[in-house]
């Protein structure tokens, strides 16, 4: 292991979301790819300022919902009309109206569970440690501070030049975050 710890990235602190938006747009325009903005609450306008494309989450949920619907139809038809035919008051063994409530509920159940599971999967959660957590400053990210983090893994990252660039963003402070041996 090297004596000097490897730089993992640069953390720029802001206390104002308006400034943050401008700064984020600058980072975006520099062409960085491995970078992120950390905020205590969703800040509207950041999607555009960071150049984030809409997530595929809704499409995954749509697929899950349709699956739930199909499962419900097949399940009720197979269980009540094929495998164990229930003849009740001479009514048809399978008819849509009586099966709609369960179809609806399973559509919702499949969609909602998939929505939450995909949210965690796409966000790579749980991930209990990231190097930013070593910064004392960063503890306020869930309270009242905003941060831009530029990852050293970015092909455009240059220890000195990026540091100089980070200082021009107008934040309160710029901090170097070191790579951690116990995490990535």
């Amino acid at each position: 292991m090297e004596n000097r710890k490897k730089l993992h990235g640069l953390l720029v602190e802001f206390d104002d979301s308006l400034q943050l938006l401008g700064a984020a747009a600058k980072v975006r325009d520099k062409g960085f790819k491995h970078w992120d903005v950390h905020t205590p609450c969703p800040v509207h306008g950041l999607d555009e300022a960071m150049g984030i494309k809409p997530t595929i989450l809704p499409w995954i949920v749509l697929g899950a919902g349709l699956t739930g619907l199909g499962v419900a139809v097949l399940m009720q038809w197979w269980m009540n009309a094929v495998d164990y035919p229930y003849l009740i008051s001479g009514k048809p063994l399978f008819s849509l109206p009586a099966n709609i409530p369960v179809m609806f509920e399973l559509t919702i159940l499949f969609s909602a569970v998939t929505c939450v599971v995909s949210l965690f999967a796409l966000n790579d959660l749980p991930k209990w440690f990231v190097p930013q957590f070593k910064s004392q400053r960063f503890r306020r990210v869930t309270t009242d501070r905003f941060f831009i983090y530029i990852d050293a893994a970015d092909p455009k990252f240059h220890a000195q030049k990026t540091m100089e660039f980070a200082k021009t963003l107008g934040g309160l402070a710029v901090e170097e975050v070191e790579d951690s041996p116990c995490g990535n």
Binding site: P40, L57, K91, P101, S111, A112, V113, C115, F133
Partner: protein, 488 residues
């Protein structure tokens, strides 16, 4: 805990030229976090909490003792008889499920309608929903008689080669209530992750750090995460909105699909849903008024929030009142003598006392909320909200019992009275509800801090012209290709 802050700030003026602040006082991100987090972080628990907790846990003990007694002895320990085969257990089930509905309404429906005031109370109301649904779930499970076979309700491959009957509303209920419980829990948890991360980052003790740390899953406020989180939240709200309407509709099918006079009506689904929202808001008000007082949250859960909730109570209470009168009208207009008898018997028969309790609490009491003075006086609201809770319990009692106790033939008429076991089981369910609730207010963030922050001026950035997306009205520098391209 903060008992000093007792002053009410009036933010209920209806001046159309000026939008009143939803978070009053001199607050910003830092103070909101501080005010909400200081409750779970307090190193000393107030004595009152211990007293309330001890009482609730004792009542929970009573609940489980009663359930054990019921299981060991049989359903005969309840006051059920022939013809009244559905008694307090079903009344309590519908009562508790109904209470749950306000939480989902606040968290999902008001979210879709962009009602920003929901952010201060949604966490609280969602917690109430989950605990109420837990209480509700107990009753049908023990009502089936052989409670240890409750899993037969679910379609699972078994050695009897039998499947449940999917054309029964009782089975629809199994799916509706279990889906509702699951979705409510996920919605609550997903919304809470950022706030749990706040508690993790502020934790002073190792135990708190690890526990909040584990449950916050390493949340770090990344905007790439927020982006998907907001989408997921919107989707969950979109799913929960029809779900909440479906749940109480399906509960009402338990009655409406039968052919009993007084139950067999098409008005039941909308009327049950309105009643559920009415009772749920009643319960939210009952719980939130003391909590905002005791925990110093008056600047976050303001008079405006209480007033809005009172308006919802007034509207839904009036819908319920309309449904009561429409039931009577149809009983007469249909020309069906059994239907007419059932309703006249409700109002003037042996259960008239229950019927008029219901009418007074559900139809008359909410009318007080026409007066702004009352809508903005927390302690009056508190008292009135308790009447709403009582009234809605009686509504279910009236529906369940009055329709059953007069069968088609006078030879099978009867009268139903609960036994002590019935009463103690119901009281015990309040114990379970309050035990869970007290744990929630002590250890979890009672207000959705991250969501409250989005409606504060600090996040809004009202500068510049109307550009940008969503709530953002400021300037966003537009994207253009970086000078040296992306490939490197």
């Amino acid at each position: 805990m903060n008992l000093v802050n007792t002053l009410e700030i009036d933010n209920t003026r209806n001046d159309p030229t000026q939008r009143e602040a939803l978070i009053v006082g001199d607050n910003n991100f830092t103070t909101v976090t501080e005010k909400v987090c200081c409750i779970p972080e307090a190193t000393t628990t107030p004595k009152a909490w211990y007293i309330a907790f001890a009482a609730s846990v004792s009542l929970t003990g009573v609940l489980f003792a009663m359930i054990a007694y019921l299981i060991f002895t049989g359903i005969g320990v309840w006051g059920l008889n022939n013809p009244v085969s559905w008694g307090w257990a079903i009344v309590n089930f519908v009562f508790w499920v109904g209470i749950g509905h306000a939480g989902t309404l606040i968290s999902a429906i008001l979210f879709l309608f962009r009602q920003k005031w929901r952010t201060s109370i949604n966490r609280f109301a969602e917690a109430m929903t989950i605990f109420a649904v837990m209480c509700a779930g107990i009753f049908p499970a023990i009502h089936i008689g052989r409670a240890w076979l409750a899993y037969w309700l679910f379609p699972y491959p078994n050695q009897m080669a039998m499947w449940p009957n999917f054309r029964s509303p009782l089975l629809w209920d199994v799916f509706a209530v279990s889906t509702y419980a699951t979705v409510s829990l996920m919605f609550w948890y997903v919304g809470m992750i950022p706030d749990l991360a706040t508690l993790r980052d502020r934790a002073k003790s190792k135990l708190a750090f690890y526990l909040y740390g584990i449950f916050s899953l390493g949340w770090r406020g990344s905007h790439r995460h927020w982006h998907r989180h907001e989408y997921a939240y919107l989707i969950l709200a979109g799913l929960a909105t029809p779900l909440v309407v479906s749940v109480h509709s399906v509960v009402s099918f338990d009655f409406a699909v039968s052919q009993l006079p007084g139950w067999h009506t098409t008005i039941f689904p909308p009327y049950f849903v309105a009643g559920a929202i009415f009772s749920g808001f009643g319960m939210v008000l009952t719980l939130i008024i003391p909590c905002r007082q005791w925990f110093g949250l008056k600047e976050i859960i303001t008079l405006k929030h209480l007033e809005n909730m009172c308006k919802v109570v007034l509207v839904t209470g009036s819908i319920v009142g309309y449904a009561y009168s429409m039931e009577f009208f149809i009983a007469w207009y249909s020309g069906n003598p059994y239907e007419a008898f059932a309703f006249i018997n409700r109002a003037f028969g042996p259960y008239a006392w229950a019927y008029w309790t219901m009418i007074s609490c559900n139809v008359l009491i909410p009318q007080f909320f026409w007066f702004k003075k009352i809508r903005t006086s927390p302690w009056i609201i508190f008292v009135l909200s308790i009447f709403v809770n009582i009234g809605m319990w009686f509504e279910r009692f009236v529906i369940v019992v009055t329709s059953l106790h007069r069968d088609f033939l006078p030879s099978s008429w009867g009268y139903y009275s609960p036994t002590l076991i019935d009463i103690l089981t119901f009281v015990g369910s309040f114990g379970l509800f309050f035990t869970l609730f007290l744990l929630f207010v002590r250890f979890l963030p009672m207000v959705a801090m991250a969501e409250v922050k989005t409606i504060m001026p600090q996040a809004h950035l009202e500068a510049g012209h109307h550009r940008g997306v969503g709530d953002y009205h400021g300037e966003i520098p537009h994207a253009h290709e970086p000078e040296d391209g992306n490939s490197k």
